[in-house]
Subunit: 516 residues, 2 copies
């Protein structure tokens, strides 16, 4: 049944009056139905994420076994999510879950996911109630973004009562071949059944969203719960395919007022590109001196951010030939190669294109204490993808919100984010294009596409202005790097970066002191 | 200098008489040379793995920084290899290193890799001296396979003396911003310098291979060692490109007798396909009974192999329409979905094709206690790749040895490997193809390619016979699954699998008892 308030506490575990043979027959039919739906998933490029949560020993494994029975191994995967590793703990909470989202046309079954992890963290005291509320909001945003971007989320909670759980724990424990299936956590859960029930109830209540509701499954009665899971999965898939074919966002289906673009963020006013003066100058001599000064400073700060475990994200965008590469190089020259990564962002590969557009960026976030520099970023969505028609209008319009949310999650996690728009004027671009064309070693840097993009300069300018206005937030502002003079631009970037890192390090030192 | 016997102990740390400016100039030249070599790497599709090993505080980071100085982030990656995680420890030792091999045309710099991990394990007492010898052999095989498959391995050992190390440790420790750079292991190493030197020396001696020699770098003198690293890297790349263009295997360059196919394995005699009787029959009734019996047994065994942490690999090969899929399904139906994976193997994706052909199989090995079922396997190399000319003759001829070695490494690690050849005759295939063609729900299973392959039946038969003769080893034998009667075939596979698992579980129980 669909989750409703106090659903778990008031749940009545009732055997449906149906003979064994009829049940088996029904399971077979539903299973075959699901089997034939998998080709439709593929045709409609629908990705499906099935979250299987519930009590320990509720039968998550066998319910998944029954759902995959008639599926072809090419179309699905079962992922058993274990406790986060130290490596995963050094990344944002959602990164390891984002990693597991399916490709278009495929199903992924998660045996416990972010629900189990979150509730355990709450119960272990790793999350304060405030942090827990914050976590819930993160999860809602995550699930909403998935649905808005075409994912079907099927959320199943397998429910059993305390007595039944105790019985199962005892049975499994008695056999040495199955005793490993019972964890200490299962036993703890059974002893604190009432408290856990309240925790589950709160979580389900907080995350049962119109476009991704929870289904509570009576898991005391095995065959029946198999039928329930199969039926819900088949129905959800059929509904999602129908919605997709009709071009309806899952959110707006249940709520006509639904508008993922309406969220407000603390924006900083940005100049229009046409208002930005580009007449800065810097002599080679001054450049050399300043470069030395800032690189020295940065080298030291790199040690400090590692010491204080501050993750740093540098996002570079700018016109072709604006000098991003050279600018980045002046930063990386000062860094220990083991503590940073440059991620050159090109057109997405097929396996990237088949997933949520932010997926490939989630895969490349820094660990705490590390720096990641994106040479082009997720903002491709509202520039090239918008202008080349690579995504729909609603996709790129929604993306401003999605990217503000993405960056908010990262700064809440503790990241320092700097976004650089590397700005040149049209004449300077032409001069640099021509220089590249005429210098044999630089010819690989200039392609037909660069010339084509140049023809669309004015359209890009509109898109860039809109992007700067809508995504320069207090927590992740855009900085204009005036780059007609490359020397000036490099020093400005270094200066902004070192300032931001100094500030973050000071804050970390202060926090550490106040704790002592 | 190239490693020679007792090289470390007798090393003379000598400052080259060259003024600072000349050194800087030389570094700049070499760095630019490397920068221009990166496009040649791409053109020649040469993958380069640079191993940077050496004493703690020897300067691995800054040496890497200097080597990447003029490289474009699109063409290289620096990977800092940390201690293996529990997840990684549940896989074969080499799996996590194999993961990091570069794509064609790219460089990867490893800040410590399998050398550091192996020596630490020896020094911590995690490896007995016998296990250590075995590990060295594994490493030699791994490196040889990489080189034979077109990889350039550049192995740098950064050498410093005890006094210098002590000085550096002291300096770094005194500054709170850099003290995290000194590990307990570094301090331990310095206190036990002589012992560590012997361990390093042994390792270098054992793994300095003609096609992948070690270079020992005087790392006391920083600028000089930068010049050495850059020079070695440039020279190695130029030499490898020349060899590749001349079509010479790196091994045979230094040793004209070099023959990677000459290794001997404990082979089991196999029948020719034409000698295999296919007239087995099984009634539906008997099938149903036996299926129930074996699936029950398998379900129980799945619990036991998890309990005893035995990894299991099932490799399926067979003619198109031989019934592999249905056969696999009868096995997986009995398994807990969290404890197994089916890996459908299709034509390699571009990112797979750009790496060693075994790479994608290494990525999909089971954890201890888990089962992985490959639906088609690495044997594609000696069947479809051989017949369609997707690899060179020397590639597929060498592959028998490489696959025998691969499986030997896996069985040495503790894996149970079963290889099934699912056999039907030509008439049966025709009947099944026609049935697929005429049944709407089954049409997706039959493609033009299947018909094309069928035309090459006789050529395939030659290749398959050779494969069965050359790769049916005592530790990973081929089993013929006669599949004209699918019922018979499914029961035979289940029977072989349960037998093998029972044997492995009994052995594990026995070992556990003898330990108590």
């Amino acid at each position: 049944m669909l989750y409703q308030k106090n659903c778990l506490a008031q749940f009545s575990f009732q055997k449906v009056p149906m003979d064994r043979k009829t049940k088996k027959e029904l399971i077979r039919t539903k299973s075959e139905q699901l089997g034939s739906l998998q080709t439709k998933l593929k045709e409609n490029k629908l990705p499906v994420l099935v979250l299987v949560e519930g009590w320990g020993t509720a039968g998550k494994g066998s319910r998944i076994a029954s759902m995959i029975h008639d599926l072809d191994p090419r179309f699905f995967q079962v992922i058993s999510v274990s406790s986060p590793t130290p490596e995963e703990l050094a990344k944002p909470f959602l990164a390891r879950h984002m990693k597991n989202i399916p490709e278009n046309g495929k199903l992924i079954f998660l045996d416990s996911g972010w629900m189990d992890e979150t509730i355990r963290a709450l119960e272990n005291g790793e999350l304060s109630s405030k942090e827990y509320e914050h976590r819930l909001e993160e999860i809602r945003v995550f699930e909403r973004q998935l649905c808005d971007n075409g994912y079907l989320l099927v959320k199943l909670f397998l429910h059993i009562d305390q007595q039944e759980q105790e019985k199962r724990i005892d049975e499994l424990s008695q056999n040495p071949d199955t005793s490993w299936r019972v964890s200490d956590h299962d036993r703890w859960q059974n002893r604190h059944y009432d408290r856990c029930l309240r925790d589950f109830e709160d979580y389900l209540q907080a995350t049962s969203l119109p476009y991704a509701p929870w289904h509570v499954i009576d898991s005391v009665h095995r065959k029946q719960s198999e039928i329930d899971c199969l039926t819900i999965l088949c129905d959800s898939i059929e509904q999602a395919i129908a919605q997709k074919q009709a071009g309806v966002l899952p959110g707006s289906q249940s709520d006509p007022q639904y508008n993922p673009c309406s969220k407000e963020f603390p924006l900083i006013e940005m100049p229009l590109l046409s208002q930005i003066p580009l007449n800065q100058q810097m002599s080679r001599k001054e450049y050399k001196e300043q470069l030395k000064y800032y690189q020295k400073k940065l080298e030291k700060l790199h040690n400090q951010i590692y010491r204080w475990k501050i993750p740093v994200i540098l996002a570079y965008e700018g016109w072709d030939a604006a000098g991003k590469g050279g600018n980045i190089k002046r930063i990386t020259s000062a860094l220990d190669p083991r503590g940073y990564k440059v991620i050159p962002v090109a057109a997405p590969k097929p396996y990237e294109l088949a997933r949520h557009y932010l997926w490939r960026f989630w895969q490349n976030l820094p660990k705490k204490g590390h720096i990641v520099i994106f040479d082009r970023t997720w903002y491709g969505r509202v520039m090239v993808e918008r202008l080349e028609g690579l995504c729909s209008e609603s996709d790129w319009k929604r993306a401003y919100t999605e990217m503000n949310e993405f960056e908010q999650q990262l700064t809440d996690w503790g990241a320092v984010i700097l976004k650089f728009w590397v700005q040149i004027d049209k004449d300077t671009q032409l001069a640099r294009f021509e220089e590249r064309q005429n210098t044999p070693e630089k010819q690989w840097k200039i392609t037909e596409e660069d010339w084509r993009n140049r023809e669309k300069w004015d359209e890009y300018e509109v898109a860039i202005n809109e992007m700067l206005q809508k995504t320069s937030t207090e927590y992740a502002p855009w900085h204009i790097i005036e780059s007609n003079c490359k020397y000036y631009a490099r020093i400005k970037a270094l200066c902004l970066l070192t300032e931001a890192l100094e500030k973050a390090v000071k804050q970390a030192e202060k926090q550490a002191k106040s704790k002592n």
